[in-house]
Symmetry: C2
Subunit: 368 residues, 2 copies
């Protein structure tokens, strides 16, 4: 594995050098983990001229689910309580005669940035911007394999829930049960706060579970994901409780299903982000549901649950092969409820069979 | 409740005016919640000259556990996806003729700060520093009552766990079960990631649960807390598994217990933070456990699980009445395990009976 991290760091180093910074300080945790194999609490990665250095608060844990620091890295642990690894890294760099440093201005606070300037007044600080986030967009097969296992775990947890009695249980209990099942099946933990929404809450994106109980006739929408070796996937499904869905439920479900399928079918290398969004969105729009639609119909996933790209009307850029994204349109009708359908897929060329669906739970409208 | 928030904002306004800023922008979520009653995702609070304004991404949820925005506040929701409420707030302020704004430089990133400057080039940006965090240190009785309920919930969850069979279960399962019980008893959720540590892991502060199973003869240390209406408490206990603890276990337990009691007894209005720390620390030090001790033996709790004050050797300042803190010394012996004992207490004058213990689970060494 060590070569993977070294090669990622080398690609970043080339970008830094091209933009005039000899060294870089990575502080955003997912970026540290991507480049160093692990991101212990508070750790920063110094991409130096001669060697790379992971600066930590504590000796890193030795837990596979948290990742292990790349053995090719020198690890430096601060002993002083209250120390800031970023400041220590800048100090070390100055000691070695460094004179320019690119930092993640979208992650560092103004106060930490000022402290860096004060410990290293001779250091020219530049902005690394989203350089690491850009490297992270296209995944290698090892990363995709982690996402695939995470998706299997989420499918299993969801499948088991569907076999149990649901009526009378609260959104909060169902969410906790799903999270327990994710861990049972080998997840590091949930990829994000599991969302369970019933009745009038159903179909709301990111709904936080309440004490409302599942009732006959409800829509039940569930969104969950597993984190596996740090990689986070997402699945969302909507079900109906009871034997026979109402006509409005069937109509709404079919509509969202059609939008979600159109979004999935638009995934291809070279497809513009906004065209994928439009494929799904226009179906909901033309059925009169433009009001209240989410700002995006999908997004990248990886070491964070919401990464680049964003699939939204204003997004600029095109998909590449090996980019995992969600497709997750939904409609929520205030007071009545709604439908969300959410898959994680990997963009693949048509010659390889087109988009690879990672979350394979059925999208038929199940009556439970 | 509205007067509470208005009076907090007025105290902050006085501090701002005294330091030369007519207006302030609060972005740190716990600070927003403290002053506005709720902190919807991404929301910022603009403390204006004429009126105060909560700027949100979405219409706030109406859930008691998340808090409701103070009705005296004007709420402004951004409609544009990808908008930054802080930037929108600065823009509104300039529109009203504002010329100076104090921001939380320890929370705002360099990139957001730069964006504020670019949308409002005429605005003089100052640093609000930790002014809100300082206001938050001393709690009112309403806040203490939330902490007290949270502590009762954590005591109940822990008590129920102790009645179940433990041998053979993994750290991860026990942690998930505790979190489920917290929610069962009315918590918003766990106050922080529940820590369950067995055998050689026991006694490690912030240990993240693994798949290790509880065995006969183990120390089992557990640290958990409930969040109740946003207020977060903490309890930690260590138990021994099996009928008869080994001599080294009894000795180590008695030592940590003595240190924790000394820390608790040192809590009084006017006591220096470092003296409380020293009271607990010197007992562990003089028994030869100075190596590997945590940087602090306690800390404030409230809307965040780690707030000011820090009880540590280098901390400056003195305790006031109505400050809730943890006292949580511990010893971990690499390869063998260890003991942590952690209570949440409220500092009270001796005339009122001295420190009020919120977490009342027994601290006898239970053999389970």
């Amino acid at each position: 594995m060590s070569e993977v991290y070294a090669s990622r760091r080398n690609r970043l180093r080339e970008r830094c050098n091209a933009s005039g910074s000899a060294t870089a300080l990575i502080s955003r945790p997912a970026n540290v983990r991507y480049l160093a194999g692990a991101a212990p609490r508070g750790a920063v990665l110094l991409l130096g001229r001669r060697e790379d250095l992971l600066v930590c608060l504590d000796p890193p844990d030795d837990r596979p689910s948290e990742g292990r620091p790349d053995e090719a890295l020198r690890v430096h642990c601060l002993r002083l309580p209250g120390g800031d690894p970023a400041v220590a890294a800048a100090d070390l760099l100055v000691g070695e005669g460094g004179d320019s440093l690119a930092v993640e201005e979208h992650h560092l606070t103004v106060a930490r940035h000022r402290e860096l300037r004060s410990v290293a007044p001779g250091l020219r600080l530049a902005d690394l911007g989203g350089a690491v986030e850009q490297l992270r967009v296209v995944k290698d097969e090892e990363e995709i394999s982690c996402l695939r296992i995470g998706a299997e775990i989420a499918d299993q947890a969801l499948g088991e829930l569907l076999e149990s009695i649901l009526v009378g249980r609260t959104e909060r209990h169902l969410a906790l049960e799903l999270e327990r099942r994710l861990v049972d099946h080998g997840a590091d933990g949930p990829a994000f706060a599991t969302s369970v929404a019933t009745g009038p809450n159903s179909g709301r994106r990111g709904h936080r579970p309440t004490d409302r109980r599942v009732e006959e006739g409800d829509f039940l929408s569930v969104c969950l994901g597993a984190s596996y070796r740090g990689y986070r996937c997402e699945i969302g499904r909507t079900f109906v409780i009871g034997t026979s869905p109402a006509d409005w439920q069937i109509e709404l479900y079919d509509l969202v299903f059609a939008a979600q399928r159109a979004g999935r079918e638009a995934l291809a290398p070279g497809a513009a982000f906004r065209d994928v969004d439009r494929a799904a969105r226009q179906i909901l729009d033309s059925a009169g549901h433009s009001e209240g639609l989410a700002a995006l119909t999908g997004h990248g996933v990886g070491l964070e649950i919401e990464e680049d790209p964003q699939l939204s009307p204003a997004a600029m850029g095109k998909l590449d092969a090996c980019v995992p994204v969600t497709v997750e349109p939904g409609v929520h009708i205030p007071g009545r409820g709604g439908v969300r359908i959410d898959d994680t897929l990997v963009v693949r060329p048509e010659a390889d069979g087109g988009p690879e669906l990672l979350t394979i739970t059925t999208k038929e409208l199940l009556a439970l």
